[in-house]
Amino acid sequence: MSVLRRFAFRLSAFFRREQIEDDLSEELRLHVELQTESNIQAGMKHEEARRQALMDLGGLDQVKERYRDERRLRWLEDAGSDLRHSLRGLMRERAFTATVLTIFALCVAANVAIFSVVNAILLKPLPFPGAKGIYTVYDSYPKAGFDGGISVPHYLERSREVSAFAESAAYRTVWFAAGKRGTIQGIEAMATSAGFFNLFRSEPALGRTFTETETVAGSPHVVVISDSLWRTRFLGDPAVLGKVLILDDNPYTVIGVMPASFHFPTVHPVAWVPLVFTKPEQTDLYRHAASLAGMAVRLRPGVTAAQARLQLDGLNERTLKQDPYAKLVVEGAGYHPVIDGLHPTMVARIRPVLILLQSGAFFLLLIGAVNLANLLMVRAVGRAREYSVRRALGAGSGRLGRSIVLETLLLAIAGGVVGVALGLTALRFSFHFFSDRLPFEMSVQPDGRVCAVSLAGAILSGLALSAPVAWQTLKENLSISLSSESRTGTITRSVQTVRQALIVAQITLAFILLSGTGLLSLSLYKLLSVNPGFRPEHVLTGMVDLPVSRYPDAKRLALALQISERIQTLPAVSCAGISTNLPFTWNAGGAAISFKNRKPKPEEAAEPHPVISVAGNVFGALGVPLIQGRLLGDSDVGVPQKVCVVDTKFAQRFWPKGDALGAEITPDSGPNPEYYKIVGVVGAVRQTDLADDKEFGTMYVPYAGEKNVMIALRTLDDPVSLGVALAKIVKEADPDLELHDVSLMENRVGKSLSGRWVAVSLGGVFAGLALILASIGIYGVLAYTVTQRRREIGVRMALGAQPHQILRMILSFGARLLAIGLPLGVLGTLFLGKSMGSFLYGVRPSSLGVFLSVASLLSLAATAACVIPAKRAAKVSPSEALRAI
């Protein structure tokens, strides 16, 4: 209590300083007057009486000062004056302040931007209550290169028999033509089992979700719609429940509306319908038809993932006994079920990129911090005399240390604030790169916690950075810097060593960052020059969905062929055709191929081969070369002898001697398949990923009325102008058809590399900054060293040293730092490069070329940074150096 009271007493004084000073002066004046009078009465002369009175008091100012000590909050006032002093100093040294702030802000900004994304995607739990307990179960066929998805029999068995699963739900993606004739709109929807919404603990905003009975075949059609569909199609009508939504020409009754916050697994599905299994789907023959996109489970409380995995494997052992394909899939494809956390599975693809970028940003931060430490230390040396004087005038170590920390903190806070603002701005601009590959709603929004963490980090690094500066300053010998009349202060050997170590650290870190970026760029360069197997230039593509229910198979076939014919007659089109799967649209998946008169080896039989239906001249449009035989033509449609074309990869895999023509194959694994006779071999095409050369070969069959049709046309000149004409042809074929996803083939290919472009360009920015920072660091230290050694250099020159010898001496100092830093950098890159494996294409982490170029780049930058101070040293005039300095 009394402590508080005293504090309040002193604090009040802090704000009424002038009043108190006046009072004190008045009081003391009276004292002196009264004392003087009493002295006069005692017989002294006036002058003498006053002098005696003052002496008696012990000096007016001295009393005042002691009084102030009692009265005031010394530390608060000191902090205030330190703050003012620091601010004045920083304002005066604008170049220094600006440099430090820029470095700090850039490093913080890079980390804020990347960390916001990392936090939103990797760290924050999924936006469902109890999301940690949600797992996903899928079938994996590693040897066949196929992962994810699950078959209906497996889903049903596992949800029934694995007791570790408290709840389970299955889902598959479906596309619908929504609306009545004239207002048709293609939508992505999801067919889900009844427990789906409950598993995510998500309640509809309006109405209800499915019941078990609604997932039985033949029950009335119901649909749950998303908030966005409700707002666009039903204009947010609160009485939407019970209304009808037409999907693929069937009426569905709207029974619920999900809130806008519900998204799974992406933002794209806008409607949910009950998942209904057909009878055949549930038989053993369909055990490995991964027709469901996924199975989500919630573990029973207290059950671990390892226990669930054990049960799942046990069940799998049992079911394999009745699995007709058991031998084939286990031996040939390495089949096994997998259970994994839902969150890690969903972010598995984007995770490595994010970690790579975050490490890059973190390295930049390290380099920046090292550089700042160095800059601050150099500056502190320049101010050694100021500190010495302050010390000589009575400032204690504590006070000096405090003012150094305060100054660094000021810089750190200012730099941190600017950096956070800069980072958030950068995030807003770079957001759309991440947004379309986010598995979630995961809007990467400015997050208060991220900002707080970043600012706290900035302040902490400010404290950390002030430590070496304070250490160096306080270590300084007062008498030396005061007495050496000419020099601006000296530093001890240990300080010099620390600073050189910092430079070496900087070179090492910059080397790692530069070579990491170099490896990424080289990979991208190699990928850009990969031949995708077709010529994407001058090719326009688009998609049309033909609703299943409205058109019987024959009608769809006729409609598609009509479109295919019409587009070939467009002026300026050289070749055109349709296909069910163009390269770089989406992953076609694949089917196992069976051969007539040939029993495949187990590992062959499980390989997934894309089976693509084509009509018109798609090969011509894409620029896929014909190698052998003939292409498919319109005359091949609807004839009894089915024919097909395979690509060279397929042909070489199974007929290495080149006698593929005439062989009969089928993608149908049923009991009585129809065989397709191979009539031609075309060039192999990379279907989804330029870096992926593990594709197994493709089979092309004549178009037979499939629902999804993609159009490709090769033009003589600019293909963009043909988009309108293409849309018109589609509308003329049927007014309800809609051409969508119109895009240049080049853009589709380019988009598949966008992740790499981001990594390379951000890496480039980081590496460039690192290079600049390292150069600044080297320059700073060398420039200072030269100033320090002027007298020594002067002596050397007076004794006959030539300017070029001095030049060499300074340059060799820089070279020595490089000679330590570069090998360390190589070691670091070798160590960290292993983790970059999945990003590298056509280069090894130990690429000598990259090491050599990075080393020479760094050496060049370092030499440039050395030359200016070295030249200055060589110009030192001996007489001047010895006399004045």
Binding site: S2, R5, R6, F9, R10, D23, L24, E26, E27, L28, L30, H31, E33, L34, Q35, D56, L57, G58, G59, Q62, V63, R66, Y67, D69, E70, R71
Partner: protein, 110 residues
């Protein structure tokens, strides 16, 4: 000068000031005279310590300061004892009694 000694002196001065103020409010110079009289001129209160000490006591809430007029009509700051100051004086003098009698006893013992 060691710390304990300073402490003791300081504590003693505080107690003497509180004791001097027990009869009536006084201004700084008056207090100085009174302290000198009370100590029978044996020791002289250092004036340089008086005002900081007054400030300290005020800060602890043992005395109060008010501007008033002195006997010969001059503006002066008068200090008076507060209730808690009176209490403190009791505590201090009791402690002093104990301390001095103990020291006396020790001196006699040797």
């Amino acid at each position: 000068m060691t710390k304990e000694k300073a402490e003791l002196l300081q504590g003693t001065l505080d107690m003497l000031i509180l004791n001097a103020l027990i009869l009536e409010p006084m201004h700084g110079f008056g207090l100085a005279i009174r302290l000198r009289q009370m100590s029978r001129e044996v020791f002289q209160v250092e004036m340089g310590s008086l005002y900081p000490a007054l400030c300290r006591l005020e800060g602890r809430g043992w005395i109060e300061a008010k501007w008033g007029t002195s006997e010969n009509n001059r503006k002066a700051r008068f200090y008076s004892l507060t209730a808690s100051g009176r209490e403190q004086l009791g505590v201090e003098s009791a402690r002093w009694q104990v301390l001095s009698s103990t020291i006396n006893a020790m001196l006699r013992a040797t």
